[in-house]
Symmetry: C3
Subunit: 270 residues, 3 copies
Amino acid sequence: MSEPLPISFLSDFGLNDEFVGVVHGVIARIAPEVRVIDVSHGVPRGDVRSGALSLMRAIQYLPEGVALAVVDPGVGTDRRAIAAETSWGYFVGPDNGLLSPAAAIVGGSLRAVTIENPELILPSSGATFDGRDRFAPAAAVLASGQATLDELGPKVHPDDIVPMMLPLPEVGEMSIEGEAWWIDAFGNVQLNAGPDELRQIGVSVGSTVDVVVGPLKRSATWVRSYGDVEEGAPLLHVDSTGMLALAVRGGSAADFFVLRPGGRVMLRRP
Amino acid sequence: MSEPLPISFLSDFGLNDEFVGVVHGVIARIAPEVRVIDVSHGVPRGDVRSGALSLMRAIQYLPEGVALAVVDPGVGTDRRAIAAETSWGYFVGPDNGLLSPAAAIVGGSLRAVTIENPELILPSSGATFDGRDRFAPAAAVLASGQATLDELGPKVHPDDIVPMMLPLPEVGEMSIEGEAWWIDAFGNVQLNAGPDELRQIGVSVGSTVDVVVGPLKRSATWVRSYGDVEEGAPLLHVDSTGMLALAVRGGSAADFFVLRPGGRVMLRRP
Amino acid sequence: MSEPLPISFLSDFGLNDEFVGVVHGVIARIAPEVRVIDVSHGVPRGDVRSGALSLMRAIQYLPEGVALAVVDPGVGTDRRAIAAETSWGYFVGPDNGLLSPAAAIVGGSLRAVTIENPELILPSSGATFDGRDRFAPAAAVLASGQATLDELGPKVHPDDIVPMMLPLPEVGEMSIEGEAWWIDAFGNVQLNAGPDELRQIGVSVGSTVDVVVGPLKRSATWVRSYGDVEEGAPLLHVDSTGMLALAVRGGSAADFFVLRPGGRVMLRRP
C-alpha cells in the first residue's frame, strides 16, 4: 500500500461552531493515518470567489495530496459534488468554480467524477451537510487509497467543470482600471493586476502613481519592500503572491484608500 | 502496548490567547504519539449548555478515544473534575453537565472517577488552570495508556455526575412552544424540537407554519432542502443533526426571525 | 537519524487568511514527518511585546523542539532573521525582541545565526513573506535534522540579539505602579507584578487593596481562587502563570477596572 496523502482543507465554516472539528473527525474515523492541514476556515461566508482565490494562492505551497474545499452556498440544490485529479493531486468540493483557479494553476484537471457512490456517502437524519457526509469521506478514501477516483461516481469531462470567472483589469494608455481582490488581515489590498500591467502604462519601480477610488484620489510609490518608504506611508508593490498590492507601512491600506473586497480601483500615471 | 487513542478537544478558550496551544503542548509533552482534534474553541465563554450541545452534536462523528471538554465557569470553586468511561471512549472535563448529553448519546457512563491523583496533576505557581494542569494530563495519560481510569482518582457513581437539564418543547394541539438552541455561523437557528413534534401538530413536509417570536409573526415552509425554496426565502427543515431548524436560503434566519440563543419560538399550524 | 522535533508556531497572522495554512504547507512539503502545534495566531497585529509575552508564558508547556514565532512589523526592512539554540531547543523568527523573553526563561541562547543561506530560503515572485519563505523552511530543516544551525547562516553572538524591554513596576512603601500586560479572552487582566511586590507593600492574602486606574478607584481582595469571592465580585490573585492578575468572578475585569493592554494601574494599601 502506498503512503497516505495529506489533506489540505479550506472552508467558510468559521471556527465558532463544531463544523470543522466534525469534518476532521469524519476523516479520522475513515482514515486515521491521514494528516489534515487547515488552510483557512475564514473565507467570508458563501463567498465562492474569495475561497477560490485563497486556494489558488495557497496551492503551490501545500503538500501534494488532496485539496478539500467547501464554500458551498448551493448546498441542498442540484449543484454537483465533484472530485478531480490533477498533476498536484486530487481536488474535492462543490462544482461551483471554487476549485477551478487552483486546479488551473497546477495544470488543470486530468480526470473528474461526480461524487455519487452511496457506499461512500454518510447517511444523514436530516438535511445534507455535504462537507461532512460527502466531501470529507471522498477526501478520506482518496487520501488513504481506500477508493480510486472512478469508484466515487460517474465521470465528468474536465471541460464541464464550472469555471470561476475572474475579472481582468482594463489597461489603457495611462491607466489601469481594476479591482480589489483580497484584503488581508493586515489591511493590504491585493489587486487583480500584476507588475506587467503597470509597466504597460509606463510606470516603473520608484515612480509614483495616482490611486483613484471613487471620488478619492491618493498616490502611492511603487517600491520593492516596506522598508523603502517611511512608517505610515502608502506604497504599491508586487506582493508575496506575485500580484500588485496597495499597502501602508505599519498601517492599513484598506482604511487609507477606503477599499473593500470587490471595490473598483484605478491606477493612473500622473 | 495498545494503539494510542485520539483526543477530541472542545473549549471556550477562543483562539486569541495561547490557552489552546498550551493544552496541546501539555498533551504533546506527556504523550507525543497522541493526535489531538480540535472540535471547537468558540463555545461562548462560560456557556456550559452551548458547549454541551456542541459536543453532543459532534460526538458520533469523532473518532473513538478521549473527549476533552473544558467550559468551566466554576474553575477555582469546589466543582469536581471528572473522567468517565463510555462505550465510545473516555470523557474528561468539569462535572458541571458539560459532558453529560454527549455521554448519554453514546450510551451513558459506565464508570467514572474524580481526577485527584496529585502525581497526574501539574503543579501551578498560582491559580489553577485546570484545562492545562488537570484535564490535559488526564486526557493524555488515558489516551496513551499510561494510566487507567482508576489511577486518576476515587470512583464516582455515574448517577452522581451532574446532568445537563435541556428544556423540552411544549407540544399543544396546534402549536409547539420551544427555544432556539443553537445559532450557527451561517445564522441557521436550531430548535429544541424535532420533526415528530411538528407532525404531532398536524404539519407535514410542504406545509407552511407560523413562526411567532415575541410580537413578531412570520411564516416558513417545511422543506427537505434549501433548493426547495427561492433565494432569500425562509424555510423550516430537519437539519443535518436531525433537529428542526429555521433557515433562510442565502441569508440569516437569526436576523430574519430576530432570534438569539435561548430565545423563545412558537411554531403554529395556521 | 534522530527523532523529528515538534514545531510550536505562534504568529499575528490571524486565521481569516491562508497565511497560517501556507506556513503549515511549507513545513509539510519540506519535512512531512514533523508535527506542528499552533500556539496562537491571535497576537494583536504587529504587537511584538504581546507576542513575546505569549510565547514566554507558553514555552515551558510546549514540547522541546522548535519555536517558530512571527510577529514582524519590520518585514521588508533590514531587521535580521535569526535562529537560536537554547537548552529547550531552537527559536526561529525576526530579531526584534519577540523571541528573547521566552529564550531567557529557558536559560538563554547558547548559539545563534542569521538565516541567510539562499539554498534554504524559498524564492518569491514579489515581496518577501518571511514567515513562508525564510522562517518556515528554517524551522522545518532544524526540526527534521536536514540542516544544522550553522548551515542556516553566519553566526551572531547571543548578546547581539535584540532584547525585549519589559517595563518593571515601581514599588513604593504603600503602592505599586504597574501596567496591564495582558488581557485574556475572559477579561482577566495580568499585571507586570508578582506576589512578592504585593507583600513588599504590606498586603497579604485576604487583604483588600485599592486599584487605581486614572481617576477611577475601585478595590479588590487578594484571594487564592475565584471560589473565595461571590459571583460578580472583583478579586486579585496570582494567576496560572505566577503573575498578579485582576479578575471578576463570572465577569470581565478589563470592563470592571476599565483597562486595556498597556494601561497604567496602581495597587495601593488602603
